[in-house]
């Protein structure tokens, strides 16, 4: 609606002047010479200037010819000032007759004929006021007016201007013209009169009628929304500007800038600090003094009552006993008869390597899961010393490593000089293996190169690949893709100093080292097992020390010499192992001094034989930072082992099972005789003969240190060390022989006995003591070795090897692996009861004997 009111362009409207003229008079201001004349009538087409208000004026166009005829030639007769020409009427009529249509007067012929007077006025219209160059004045009055002095025209004009409103001025009688005397008022009038200098601009704004007065709502409009909403003149950098300011007057005021800052500093002040290296201890005198002081007495009197109450409380009952838990366990073991079995897990038969051989020893790898090592030896008819010449034609002797994940291919093979009768992993470093050969030598093997491979045995189960790129310590390894690597032994004892008969048992000594002089056990600070004990039917037990360089990651070389020890060459050459230089540390001969009977130990069981198998990482970490210092520690140990603290409460007694079936209990501790200051071997040996055949197993229970299981021939027995002269428990079986046995590692009252018909008896002492709780057949031939292992808390394995060279790995079921609650206490109780019973029996028999003897005495007396 508002658009209609938009201001349009101004436009000069043309008809304005005409409107004004309509309002105003007929006369325009231009012509001052025009006079108003009477309006003439004309019937025909009005050719007059009536349309401009002068009906008596007839514009005519005179041609040159006409001008000559009437002597009104332009510029000659008639000029601008002298523009009037009186022409006779008769002349005009004459002209009309002669030229008729051609005559210029033809259009006004009628006017001319009607003209009353004799002369007509023709005016030269120089300015073409009426459209032509001449005009005829048709009325007398007009003629006269024109001819008359035109001064009166001005006055009349003014009158006309004032009378603007008056449109129609009918018979206007002009005032009688008087000569006007100008008194100067024209000037004033002219000054005062308002004249439009500029033509006024006229606007016409129109709108639809209905829109007037309607309410208006204004809205905002953002000027930038519309493209042309606003026009701006943005500043821009003038490219042409090139004035550089070179000098500028600038005023500066320097003001000191003040800022407040606070910091908190740690106030260190001298403090006393003390470090304690040794615990404070009172000297003996002080202790005595304190003990006898009064204060202590008072203290004790006041305190002991409280203490006794507490102790009694504990004796009465166990306040923290969880009945609920105990209930569950009891139910498990007593309710129902769970299945007891040995599940077959794996079976390894190395046809290539173990053909026609009996497995002599089976050993689990202490740290790597699923690796088991097996040593095989020749099948000998009477199990005497091997015929060496025969052997050379046959395959080499190896210790074979099997992995669970690859039952067909052995992982590793260790080459040995002779058949290995028994071997053991070193507890401190599972990469070192000590083996006893059937010719009496002791062999050391190092598999540290292949440890990684063994650990990855699970990942590369198919195919055996060897990356023998980095081999710092030289070992001959066969590179092949299908055959397992062959590792050579690295140390072999000297033949003269070894056993004369096959080494039947070999053990690593735990963390204490032996002092050769004192034969006392001393502390081994480095916690590395370095000593071996071997026994052989040649009546000797030998203690060996490990050559220091044979431990892995050794880079420096040292020469250590020790009496009764061994030589270590500076650099063990690659191809020549430490051959034949290794001597035992201590040799114990059994049965020499006492009697003539020789005692050929077949098995040995040391009292302190509890190992901690460390993981290889730990050992590695132990090794690498200690590599430079280890030599020194070894030298320390070997040369100055006297300086180490002597452990007094390590028991040095041991059991020996002999070839003849005797069990000898002896001590290796050598005491210095007070009188002679010479080492005298104290032998508290006791012999027990219950077995009739060679003892093949002599083992301490892993739970109780003084309970020993011995197996030989047709019977086996459990002994308690030092306590009795007879075994606590004894069993014999008529069918078949017992060939191997082992305590269970997890249950105190369970042990496994293997027979020569391939059966395994599982004995559970808490269930039945007169017969095995379970029997299972494993193989068809004689079982040679049995070895349980805890692979994980859920998996317990039993490795069984037989005469055919096959190794069976069985999984022990849960009931056999998990001890019931308080089993240990129960078993201990059981043993103690047995011991008591035995003692009681002894006493009874003793009493009986005495009674008998006294009775006899009396009888004799009587007689």
């Amino acid at each position: 609606m508002s658009k209609k009111l938009s201001s349009g362009k101004t436009s000069l409207k043309a008809p304005k002047t005409s409107a004004k003229k309509q309002k105003g008079g007929k006369k325009s201001k231009d012509s001052s010479k025009r006079k108003q004349t009477q309006l003439g009538k004309k019937d025909e087409v009005d050719l007059s200037a009536a349309h401009i208000g002068h009906p008596e004026i007839f514009p005519l166009a005179f041609t040159t010819e006409t001008q000559e005829i009437f002597n009104c030639r332009v510029e000659e007769d008639v000029t601008e000032e002298n523009c009037f020409k009186l022409i006779k009427k008769d002349d005009i009529i004459q002209d009309l007759k002669t030229r008729d249509a051609v005559s210029d007067f033809h259009p006004v012929k009628k006017v001319v004929l009607e003209y009353p007077e004799e002369e007509l006025l023709v005016v030269f219209d120089a300015k073409f006021q009426y459209g032509q160059n001449f005009y005829l004045v048709a009325s007398e009055e007009a003629k006269e007016n024109l001819l008359k002095p035109p001064e009166t025209a001005q006055e009349e004009e003014k009158e006309e201007e004032n009378r603007e409103e008056d449109l129609e001025v009918q018979p206007y009688k002009p005032p009688v013209p008087k000569p006007w005397v100008s008194l100067g008022s024209e000037k004033e009038v002219e000054e005062e009169s308002v004249k439009d200098r500029v033509t006024k601009i006229k606007y016409m704004i129109s709108r639809v009628r209905r829109k007037f007065g309607t309410p208006i709502t204004f809205t905002d409009r953002n000027a930038s929304h519309v493209k042309d909403g606003y026009v701006e003149c943005t500043p821009y950098e003038d490219k042409a500007f090139s004035i550089n300011m070179l000098e500028k007057d600038v005023g500066l005021q320097t003001v000191p800038k003040v800022k407040e800052v606070a910091t908190q500093t740690k106030w260190t002040y001298p403090k006393n600090a003390a470090t304690q290296y040794f615990p404070r201890q009172l000297s003996n005198e002080e202790k005595e003094e304190r003990l006898s002081s009064k204060k202590l007495k008072e203290f004790l009197t006041s305190v002991h009552l409280r203490m006794e109450i507490a102790l009694q409380q504990n004796e009465i009952m166990n306040a923290f006993f969880d009945d609920w838990k105990a209930l569950a366990e009891d139910e498990c073991s007593s309710g129902g008869k769970p299945d007891v079995y040995l599940g077959a897990y794996r079976s390894f038969t190395g046809l290539r390597y173990l053909k026609d051989r009996i497995i002599s020893c089976v050993c689990w790898h202490p740290t790597i899961y699923g690796i088991i090592a097996v040593s095989a030896r020749q099948q000998l008819p009477d199990e005497e010393q091997a015929n060496l010449s025969d052997k050379s034609l046959l395959q080499q002797t190896v210790i074979v490593f099997w992995s669970f994940f690859d039952p067909l291919h052995p992982q590793l093979m260790l080459e040995c000089p002779e058949d290995i009768h028994c071997f053991q992993f070193s507890p401190s470093d599972p990469n070192v293996i000590a083996g006893g050969c059937i010719n009496g030598q002791v062999v050391l093997l190092d598999i540290s190169q292949h440890e990684q491979k063994l650990q990855n045995a699970q990942t590369d189960a198919d195919g055996i690949k060897i990356t023998a790129v980095n081999m710092p310590s030289p070992m001959q390894v066969e590179q092949s893709s299908t055959e397992p690597p062959l590792v050579r032994y690295c140390a072999v004892s000297s033949i003269q100093h070894s056993h004369k008969k096959p080494v039947t048992d070999i053990y690593w000594l735990p963390d204490y080292s032996k002092d050769n002089q004192m034969s006392a056990a001393s502390e081994n600070r480095a916690e590395i097992c370095v000593q071996l004990v071997t026994c052989s039917p040649d009546c000797s037990v030998l203690f060996w020390d490990i050559p220091a360089t044979k431990l892995p990651e050794q880079t420096s070389c040292e020469t250590v010499k020790q009496e009764g020890g061994f030589y270590i060459p500076c650099d063990v050459p690659a191809t020549k192992p430490l051959d034949l230089c290794w001597k035992p540390l201590i040799k114990i001969n059994l049965g020499e001094s006492d009697s003539n009977t020789e005692c050929g130990p077949v098995r040995i069981s040391l009292r302190e034989l509890h190992y901690h198998y460390k993981t290889s990482e730990k050992v590695r970490s132990l090794h690498t930072p200690e590599a430079p210092t280890r030599d020194s520690s070894y030298t320390e140990m070997s040369t100055s082992s006297k300086n180490l603290k002597v452990l007094e409460n390590i028991s040095t007694s041991f059991f020996i099972g002999t070839e003849d079936g005797e069990i000898v209990h002896s001590d290796w501790k050598i005491e210095i005789d007070n009188d002679t200051a010479k080492p005298v071997s104290q032998e508290h040996s006791q012999k027990y003969t219950i077995h009739t055949e060679t003892i093949n197993t002599l083992q301490r229970s892993p739970f109780f240190q003084d309970i020993v299981l011995s197996i030989g021939g047709r019977n086996f027995a459990i002994w308690k060390e030092r306590d009795t002269y007879r075994p606590i428990l004894q069993w014999s079986c008529s069918a078949g022989r017992y060939t191997a046995g082992h305590w269970s590692l997890t249950r105190p009252g369970v042990f496994f006995i293997a027979r020569n018909d391939g059966n395994i008896d599982i004995w559970d002492l808490l269930k039945k003591t007169h017969e095995p709780s379970h029997t299972q057949n494993i193989s068809t031939s004689r079982i040679t070795c049995i070895s349980p292992w805890i692979a994980s808390p859920k998996q317990n394995f039993l490795a069984v090897s037989d005469d055919l060279g096959a190794l069976h790995v069985l999984e022990i079921c849960q009931t056999l692996s998990h001890p019931s609650s308080n089993e240990e206490a129960n078993v201990l109780d059981f043993f103690e009861r047995e011991v008591k019973y035995l003692k009681y029996c002894e006493e009874k028999s003793q009493a009986k004997r005495e009674l008998k003897w006294s009775w006899r005495q009396r009888q004799r007396k009587q007689v």
């Binding site: 201890q281 009172l282 202590l296 004790l300 305190v303 002991h304 507490a310 102790l311």
Partner: protein, 95 residues
């Protein structure tokens, strides 16, 4: 003598493994355990007793620690503190 007798009596209770008497600074005076273990027990238990005592006294300044029993899986350690001395008994409470 009396001292000996009392200690013997305490030691004779069933299940008692060891008895230690130490002074207020934690230095053992009389013990039935080996030296290294004694020193270890003395150091650790002395600190613990001090801490327990200060805890009790913090809560209530009029209160004081009379007895401290630590029950572990394997045995129970009983500590009877006093102004100048400390009596520690280690007992195996299981039947």
């Amino acid at each position: 003598a009396e001292v000996e007798e009392t200690l013997k009596r305490i030691q004779a209770h069933k299940g008692v493994i060891a008895t230690i008497v130490m002074n207020a600074e934690g230095i053992p005076i009389r013990t039935t355990l080996d030296n290294s273990s004694t020193v270890q027990y003395a150091g650790l238990l002395h600190q613990l007793t001090m801490r327990a005592r200060s805890t009790v006294r913090d809560i209530d300044p009029h209160n004081d620690l009379t007895f401290l029993r630590i029950r572990s899986k394997k045995h129970e350690i009983m500590i009877a503190p006093d102004k100048d001395y400390l009596l520690i008994v280690i007992q195996n409470p299981c039947e």
